[in-house]
């Protein structure tokens, strides 16, 4: 299997099949970050697609010393933050239906309520707190990786996440399974 770096070199040569391989390999994580940050299906799809198009445009200047996923996270994070700063306030999507196995109706309602509470709580964070939270809790990135993605120091990430936890804790702790 070709590495991300090799694929990027081929993308720089104009090889579209290499680009498609990269997209298929990383589309899920790009989508997950964009969706949990934006909270809107259409916005998230646009952001995730735009991120890959930006990577395609800049393929010739790609610096292989940086891990490709860090590069991808950085492009997505910048697009997400930029887009939320420009857009007018909106209502987030209703949380998605759970996939199989089909849970009992009560369970399903509880899950939807939990997802909606998460969405509302995330929307109240600052842009950077929200991005740090998404990268940490949905992507399980280390503080060092989050710092590299957000062009910050690990210490700054520590502060961002501590404030985010303080804001989120009171609103979401009740949804934890006891």
């Amino acid at each position: 299997m070709q590495s991300d770096r090799e694929l990027m070199m081929r993308v720089a040569e104009g090889r579209m099949e290499a680009f498609e391989t990269l997209v298929r390999r990383h589309q899920e994580r790009a989508w997950r970050i964009a969706y949990h940050y934006m909270g809107d299906h259409d916005d998230a799809e646009e952001v995730a697609q735009q991120a890959f198009l930006n990577i395609l445009d800049a393929a010739e200047s790609y610096n292989p010393s940086a891990k490709f996923t860090t590069y991808l996270y950085r492009v997505i994070a910048n697009l997400c933050i930029d887009r939320t700063r420009k857009r007018s306030p909106h209502l987030s999507d209703d949380p998605p239906e759970q996939d199989s196995p089909t849970p009992a109706p009560d369970r399903r309602m509880a899950d939807r309520e939990r997802d909606r509470a998460i969405r509302n709580a995330l929307d109240e964070l600052t842009d950077r707190q929200r991005m740090a939270t998404v990268l940490r809790y949905y992507e399980d990135l280390s503080y060092r990786e989050i710092a590299a993605t957000m062009d910050a120091t690990p210490k700054a990430v520590e502060r961002l996440l501590a404030r985010a936890r303080k804001a989120l804790g009171g609103k979401l702790a009740e949804f934890a399974e006891k």
Binding site: E13, G14, F19, V23, Q49, L56, D99, D111, R165
Partner: protein, 155 residues
């Protein structure tokens, strides 16, 4: 370690990501601080809530739609790819090497002395372009020399 420092590190403490010495300091602080133990419980619950949150699947056709979008953009912004960009790196290197070799051969062949012995050559015997025509060899050169001599004589 005070409460503020401890709370900044609770998340990594829970995941075992702190260096041993720092983790020990957090542990010591937690033993004597009920408020920070409460914050640790909240951090644990928060991680658990996020862990169970739903994520919708990637939109269907995401990659193929993106490939079409990318192809359209390449056509619109750049026009069709130039032929050299469709070649892989080894082919590009081979083409570049052939061009360099060809150029070098051309320079070497073109820079050789036409009269290596350095002898003076009469204009009439100098090689001319008339070998391409039906005229007798050297006739054009001779005609040119005589024309120049006549015009100088007139002065």
């Amino acid at each position: 370690m005070n409460c503020r420092e401890t709370r900044h590190k609770l998340d990594r403490y829970l995941r075992g990501e702190l260096p041993g010495e720092v983790a020990d300091e957090v542990k010591t602080h937690l033993k004597g601080c009920p408020d920070c133990r409460g914050a640790l419980d909240t951090a644990r619950e928060l991680a658990e809530v996020f862990h169970r949150a739903s994520t919708p699947p990637t939109p269907e056709g995401f990659a193929s739609d993106l490939r079409e979008l990318a192809a359209e953009r390449e056509e619109t912004i750049l026009g069709p790819l130039p032929a050299w960009r469709t070649l892989s790196t080894p082919w590009r290197a081979a083409v570049a090497a052939s061009l360099v070799v060809g150029l070098a051969l051309g320079i070497i062949m073109g820079s050789g002395p036409e009269n290596p012995a350095g002898q003076e050559v009469e204009a009439a015997q100098a090689p001319g372009l008339d070998y391409l025509s039906d005229s007798p060899r050297g006739s054009i050169n001779r005609a040119f020399v005589s024309m120049v001599s006549d015009s100088q004589g007139e002065k």
